[in-house]
């Protein structure tokens, strides 16, 4: 009797939270990262590394320590065409919901100490100002307002930017700006990115890449 009731409560809890598939399993995620999803997609590590370090030169983002919910949402968006990228589209196309959760859980747990390339001091100073104070007269709000203290990310919606590769940050800000990336809620990122000058994009990307990551938190 008691067991039945507990089972019922558990099912209701799952329904209520909308998480019908089990939470991501990092061990299963590791297999996909190392070997691919078994349907022709490349193993993630080919570009992102098995530790999720990514590659600045190639513009492959660091995934280590990013929020699992954020990573999963991006993979679903690639799979369903809400976010486009010639490399990611075929690799995400065959991932099941569960595989997406598993890969996301794996990379969210990785903890890579970023070793950012050196950046010019004046660029860093300009970037720091934008990240912490913004440029309100041009209605560019500080990055930290949404991405949190140290731009370490807030929840599944506002990704951590700290310690991310500058090439990737630049590429993405430009993608918001030119309309090739559109998967932000309510155009919140477009609003800001469209107001950033090329120089400001260089500056925030450089500065954010130097900030310590939160890292390793699922």
């Amino acid at each position: 009797m008691i067991i039945t009731r507990r089972g019922g409560a558990f099912a209701v809890l799952l329904l209520a939270s909308g998480l019908l598939q089990a939470a991501g399993n990092a061990d299963r995620g590791a297999t996909i990262v190392m070997q691919g999803e078994g349907q022709g997609g490349a193993p993630c590590l080919a570009c992102h590394g098995n530790d999720g370090a990514g590659n600045d030169g190639a513009g492959f983002p660091r995934l280590a320590g990013l929020n699992a919910g954020y990573l999963a949402a991006q993979l679903r968006d690639y799979r369903e065409g809400r976010r486009t990228n010639v490399i990611m589209a075929p690799n995400a196309a065959h991932l099941s919901d569960q595989q997406i959760e598993d890969v996301a859980a794996y990379y969210a747990m990785q903890n890579v100490v970023a070793k950012p390339a050196e950046q010019p001091a004046d660029l860093l100073a300009q970037g720091e100002k934008l990240v912490k104070q913004g440029d309100w007269d041009n209605y560019i709000v500080p990055c930290e307002t949404c991405h949190g203290p140290g731009a370490q990310g807030v929840g599944a919606t506002f990704p951590g930017l700290s310690g991310q590769h500058p090439s990737y940050l630049r590429q993405q800000l430009e993608a918001w700006k030119n309309g090739t990336r559109t998967n932000d809620p309510n155009q919140l990122m477009l609003a800001i990115a469209a107001r950033l000058s090329d120089e400001q994009i260089q500056a925030v990307s450089a500065y954010l890449s130097q900030l310590p990551t939160s890292g390793g938190k699922p």
Binding site: G134, D137, C146, G148, Q152, N186, L188, A191, A194
Partner: protein, 325 residues
């Protein structure tokens, strides 16, 4: 600065038929004919002002730091999740975001809210007592001096005692909507536009214990005596400041509806509480006629409770009448 916003908006409107870079306009109200407009100085101006005594600069910076990160005084001056900049966005210097410099140029003056002549310190104390659900820094204290110095410096060059100020306060939509505000429509506006940051439950979001998006109701939000608890204040704030980065993107009606929705939720007690919310509403009717406090909603009288949030007392000592008789 403002013309530049218009240039962006016009450009995107004019070039709609052809492929163009997308953008989100910044749509702020026009200044009215004859209004005085002041552009408050920036942090760079402060740092580069060679004429400023370095000790004064230090005090102004201290005030700015308290203004931007008021949470450093959590449990001392502030008992909720607010910072000054939560409502006075853009460092307290942006028009249409409750710029704070007019307090320095128009006070001392009579205030309807407490029915006597207020100093700048007393005005700042009001924010701490209501919006921050707290206990203001002592009059004349170092922290109060620093906050006053920051306000005064933002007013640099502004006309003293001029009261017809463009972009002041939160009242651009007037006192009441043309068509009534609606709670259910407001709930939908909230779900579509606000919940992504402030949460489905209005409790905001935190990161490592630090407030990122402030709660809009409940124990850690502004109390029932805060200006923002008035539906018209919240409506104008929302219209010209929210969602962040997209001022003017909601219709006036959406702003009214969502303001009513937010301000129909419970929050910490008004420090002027007499023990009876209806009576308190009557006693301060010039204020509470614009709030839902002391009125019935969902079978409850809003504000009829002893909950002061995290604040272990009801009324800070500084809230007292002042007469010269």
């Amino acid at each position: 600065m403002k013309p530049r916003f218009y240039a962006v908006a016009l450009l995107s409107a004019a070039s709609l038929p052809v492929m163009s870079a997308p953008s989100v306009p910044v749509e702020l109200p026009e200044y009215k004919e004859g209004q005085y407009v002041h552009q408050a100085p920036t942090l760079d101006d402060l740092m580069n002002d060679q004429a400023l005594n370095p000790k004064l600069r230090e005090v102004i910076l201290k005030g700015r730091d308290l203004f931007m990160n008021t949470q450093q005084k959590r449990g001392e001056y502030v008992f909720n999740d607010m910072n000054c900049k939560s409502c006075h966005m853009g460092e307290g210097r942006m028009n249409w975001s409750g710029p704070v410099w007019p307090a320095a140029t128009t006070l001392p003056d009579f205030r309807g809210k407490n029915q006597h002549v207020n100093s700048l310190e007393e005005r700042i104390a009001g924010c701490f007592s209501f919006s921050m659900n707290g206990q203001p820094p002592e009059y004349g204290s170092d922290d109060m001096l620093a906050l006053v110095a920051y306000h005064q410096w933002l007013a640099k060059g502004a006309k003293v005692y001029e009261t017809n100020i463009g972009g002041r306060g939160f009242s651009s939509l007037g006192r009441e909507p043309e068509q009534g505000a609606d709670y259910d429509r407001g709930a939908q506006v909230y779900a579509d536009n606000c919940a992504v940051c402030h949460g489905d439950d209005g409790q905001g979001q935190h990161k490592d214990g630090k407030v990122v998006f402030p709660p809009l109701w409940g124990d850690h939000s502004y109390n029932w005596g805060a200006g923002m608890a008035r539906v018209f204040t919240a409506a104008s704030f929302i219209k010209n400041n929210m969602p962040l980065g997209k001022p003017g993107s909601l219709t006036d009606q959406q702003a009214w509806d969502v303001a009513l929705f937010v301000n129909s939720h419970e929050r910490p007690q008004d420090p002027r509480y007499t023990g009876d919310a209806k009576e308190t509403r009557e006693k301060y009717s010039n204020f509470h006629k614009w709030t839902r406090y002391g009125t019935e909603f969902n079978g409850q009288i809003l504000g009829q409770h002893d909950n002061t949030g995290d604040k272990p007392f009801l009324k800070p000592d500084v809230l007292r009448p002042r007469t010269f008789e």
